[in-house]
Symmetry: C2
Subunit: 272 residues, 2 copies
Amino acid sequence: MSTSSSSQTQSLKIGIVGFGTFGQFLAKTMIKQGHTLAATSRSDYSDLCLQMGIHFFRDVSTFLATDLDVIVLCTSILSLSEVVRSMPLASLKRPTLFVDVLSVKEHPKDLLLRVLPEDSDILCTHPMFGPVTGKNGWRDLTFMYDKVRIRDEATCSSFIQIFASEGCKMVEMSCEEHDKAAAKSQFITHTIGRTLGEMDIKSTPIDTKGFEALVKLKETMMGNSFDLYSGLFVHNRFARQELENLEHALYKVKEMLVQRMNEEQGQERLES
Amino acid sequence: MSTSSSSQTQSLKIGIVGFGTFGQFLAKTMIKQGHTLAATSRSDYSDLCLQMGIHFFRDVSTFLATDLDVIVLCTSILSLSEVVRSMPLASLKRPTLFVDVLSVKEHPKDLLLRVLPEDSDILCTHPMFGPVTGKNGWRDLTFMYDKVRIRDEATCSSFIQIFASEGCKMVEMSCEEHDKAAAKSQFITHTIGRTLGEMDIKSTPIDTKGFEALVKLKETMMGNSFDLYSGLFVHNRFARQELENLEHALYKVKEMLVQRMNEEQGQERLES
């Protein structure tokens, strides 16, 4: 099956669970591409959905009973388990493709394999961008995905095509590989941004280019919720080791500095 | 006295002590502007100086006896004290302006005030750029300076004008203010770059924009010598506190994560 040709794609009926900022952000492009959307959320988004041409369901059971091709889970990392476990999945009328879009991947994979009906397909994805980085389109932004349990290749392919056709950099990798790499990169980036936020670093009259980049990083990272950041830690089993590596590396750098300082001071005593 | 008008400037006879990468970098622009240059260094740079049109002195005493308007100290932070203390300053024929260009400022100020002849002028500066950041000109790059002991305003003004006329952002502040701000900005930037270097962070197939910025920062910072980095620590009395602030902030971020993890795990136990 190829995902590079758009001739195979079909218009999908997509239901979004959790219609916060990220769900709304994805929905806009899906509507633009001609897919039909429905949504449900713990908060009431019926006015916004009416404006966007999306059917909003207050009742999850009715939402599930609607004839949907794909259900996209757009909850936070920390609430996914509670949201999925509370869904009356018996209301599903037919096999459905479930997609998650969280920034950790083993956790939703394990949960969905455990909780969803055996005939549901599962696609775990991580669109590595959001309303800020993706505000001028998705070209060259990374979309990671893992076909965890796919029998209906056509529907899965059409869903993946949503991102490929916008020009995303498509990366297929296992959920485990994703979490290993994300702990080393995304989690460490958030941790440094949060640490600089905790220090309350600020521009000075003598900023270097490198420091300007750190001030910008701090601001971007502090713009994310603590819920997102702690989700990257709590539900990525590789994150704790990377946090320890960061602490250890800082400790080693400090040790080298202190040793050099002692050498210099010894030298000065000899000279004076 | 104004440094903004170039009509007051005179062509200077400038001697550079320490003709490494940074001394050579400054010399190029000074020659371009029509100043006359001499140099001395622990290593022999006579061939390079011959090509550049600079008189190279192997003997420091002869160098000092030359009729120079300005002597620019371009040593490393760690070697400044040894280099200056070993100079036969009695060879100086007349009052001279001494300029340092180190990335710490209280240390050279204190040293030069202690060691130089009473009739020498002292200008402490920090050109906050180098061969990499300044390779396409110095426009908008920061030049910090402190007129520590200036009697010959004309010579000092002409020297400062070298940087102003290239379009540098001119920042006059005390050496103490500089070191306070640099410990919070430049030193922390180097420390994070070195810590990421110690962790050996690398690009992954799923880099975020923020992580890309950190990889770039790591590479820039690891391109600097450990001598420079340790100089920023050993000879800036504010650096140790900022290193402790960084360690403490990372500790607090970790504490918040661990607390949230415990809450989540408690929640899961209640649910199951």
